[in-house]
């Protein structure tokens, strides 16, 4: 079964010490959640949350204005929502979450990942997800993107599909059939004051089970036909 975007949820959009996100509708045990956590601080971090693993932590934009963190979680008898707490203060925070079905059922869910950010001036304000090199077929590439002004990001030439978004914090995704380089994913240009950061990661699909075939030969039938089974 191919990996698919099942549902999304978003939360935040103001200054606070925590953000609570509703569990995406229809999420079942084994689904993988990826949350994109945006924080306008260069000192605070996100406290750890049991069951959640950082993929790219505290990727800063160029100024820096903000930090972008992506985390993953495998659903397992989860409650109705998830609360992510800030280590200190009440910075502006926003979160966007995507729920994916058809992912690997045990062990690590992330194949590869990378974070990057704008470097200033002209083309520097076109969000680009850095190329990552997947090690398995049929990964789902997921880009978590944010920009300081909260502008909606456009698809550009990325070929990716937008999922949940709130205030410029967005989840984008696309399946990649063959293992190897994803190439860079270039989105539409932002205004020149829209500093951005992108965390790019790839989700594993389940490993293909070994195929065992047992064939029973009826020797008498083959021998009657003049065939010798050895």
């Amino acid at each position: 079964m191919a990996i698919a975007y099942r549902a999304g949820a978003t939360g935040g959009g103001g200054s606070a010490s925590s953000v609570t996100i509703t569990k995406p509708t229809g999420a079942v045990d084994g689904d993988i959640l990826i949350v994109v956590l945006y924080m306008e601080s260069t000192t605070a971090t996100w406290n750890t949350l049991t069951g959640w693993t950082d993929i790219v932590a505290n990727q800063q934009d160029e100024i820096p204005n903000f930090r972008l963190t992506t985390r993953w979680h495998r659903c397992s008898s989860d409650g109705a929502d998830y609360t992510f707490n800030v280590s200190a203060g009440t910075p502006w925070i926003t979160a966007a979450m995507g729920c994916y079905s058809g992912c690997i059922g045990s062990g690590g869910a992330i194949d590869v990942s990378a974070g990057n950010a704008c470097s200033g001036g002209g083309a520097g304000h076109t969000p680009v997800a850095a190329s990552i090199t997947t090690t398995a077929a049929n990964d789902m590439l997921v880009a978590g993107i944010a920009n300081i002004n909260g502008s909606a990001i456009t698809v550009g030439t990325s070929g990716m599909t937008r999922g949940a978004q709130l205030g410029g914090v967005e989840v984008w995704y696309v399946a990649q059939a063959a293992s190897g380089s994803s190439g860079t994913k270039t989105f539409g240009s932002l205004a020149d004051y829209d500093h951005w950061a992108v965390n790019h990661q790839a989700l594993f699909e389940p490993a293909v089970a070994a195929l065992n075939v047992n064939i029973a030969f009826d020797n008498s039938t083959y021998q009657a036909a003049g065939i010798r089974v050895i």
Binding site: A7, A9, G13, A16, T22, G163, Q165, G167
Partner: protein
């Protein structure tokens, strides 16, 4: 005084269609006046807004293929105040959106 509309978020996919959330606010009184959902998807969705300072929340389910407003009361007892940050973002409110929704 002017009512300003700002698109703040969305969700969806190519197969089921997309939903867009917008807010209206009074830029003089700095009050949130409405949250509007343009649901162009085949799924229902849910949106809510909460004033961070006091937990006052307004939310509702939005049916598929519909445009609906959550009209936010602006009277003293029930209003949701906002502030505008130097970056131009609105502060004071947290949003919660879910798509799809039963």
């Amino acid at each position: 005084m002017a009512t300003v509309t700002r698109q703040i978020g969305g969700d969806g996919d190519p197969a089921r269609g997309y939903v867009f959330w917008e807010i209206d606010f009074d830029d003089a009184k700095l009050l949130l006046t409405a949250v509007r959902c343009r649901n162009e998807s085949s799924e229902a969705t849910y949106g809510s807004v909460t004033q961070i300072s006091n937990g006052r929340t307004y939310g509702m389910r939005f049916p598929p293929n519909s445009t609906t407003n959550i009209a936010i009361p602006t009277g003293q007892a029930q209003k949701i105040d906002i502030s505008i940050m130097p970056s131009g973002k609105l502060d004071g409110v947290h949003y919660s959106f879910v798509w799809p929704y039963p």
